[in-house]
């Protein structure tokens, strides 16, 4: 046999896999509070740090900068200010489905009124012409809500 370096050209094979790995991610009591309020009352909530007084949403247990446990849930607004966004118009696989994610769509980071950090979500595509950093947006809720972030259908620009 010839040495490897003298190999003749031949097909270069690939192995293809489409394994789906299921996950059962716990949402936890803090973020769960947001989803339960959203589902049952169309209310949005954040959690306030007792030390620096910042309000975070979705709520979580620990304020990182203060390394302090938070325990004060506060209601925040349905409206907020668009801080960053992207009009997504390139093809890619959605790891949630294994299929191409429908495009175009818009997602952005919204500073909800009463919160100090931003919340990421979908922006209604029909608003594409009205988008700008600093635009005011408002949550639109699904009629049937299941206790997940997409119980907010999307955010819409408010004039």
């Amino acid at each position: 046999m010839e040495g490897l370096e003298k190999q003749k050209e031949h097909e270069l094979l690939t192995v293809i896999s489409e394994v789906e790995v299921p996950y059962y991610w716990s949402i936890g009591r803090y973020a769960g509070e947001f989803l339960i309020e959203l589902r049952d009352h169309k209310r949005l909530v954040g959690v306030r740090c007792p030390k620096c007084r910042k309000v975070y949403t979705p709520p979580r247990k620990v304020c990182g900068p203060c390394f302090t446990e938070m325990d004060e849930m506060v209601e925040i607004g349905h409206t907020g200010t668009l801080v960053a966004y992207s009009v997504v118009n390139y093809k890619f696989i959605d790891p949630n489905t294994g299929k191409n994610r429908p495009i175009p769509y818009i997602y952005g980071y919204i500073k909800l009124d009463g919160a100090d950090n931003t919340f990421s979500h979908i922006i209604d595509y029909s608003d594409v012409e009205k988008l700008e950093v600093g635009a005011r947006v408002k949550a639109v809720f699904e009629e049937k809500r299941v206790g997940l972030p997409w119980d907010i259908k999307y955010f819409k620009v408010v004039d």
Binding site: M1, L4, L13, E20, Y24, I27, R29, E33, V45, I93
Partner: protein, 161 residues
Amino acid sequence: MAKSSSSNVFHGTEELVYSGKISVPYTWSVGETGSRFFLEIRDNKKIFGTHCPMCNRTFVPPRKVCPRCFEKGMEWRELGDEGILMTYTIPHYHEDIHPMNDLFAFGIIKLDGADTGFTHLLGEFQRGELRTGLRVRAVFRDQRKGNILDIKYFKPIKQQN
């Protein structure tokens, strides 16, 4: 709800879970060396390993470079399609990732001419028949595609006469 005290922050005991998945397709490069190995199986039903002239070991699956001494001048060696069963296990549960449904086993086989074991499947055996040291032979698939499952499994070699 403007505020709640720490004692009653949470609504009862509802513990939400999101059941999702990760589903990203992958296309792994087999590489020149591995492709040649699979092509020999696919086209000629022959199993090859690569031999390191430095440490004198023959590896299967083949290595482009010797993993022990980083020797680059590996040489192809044709191996037997028979070998000795070094270890085995019969699974008693079924997973979708299992390529066989009927009675089957996983095994490591030292193919004739190889210095390493080759991990694969075992089929066409009776319960109780498998043992360490058993001679087995590769059964090739009729429709071969250039991957590890072109060998359907290894089966025990029946004692002649």
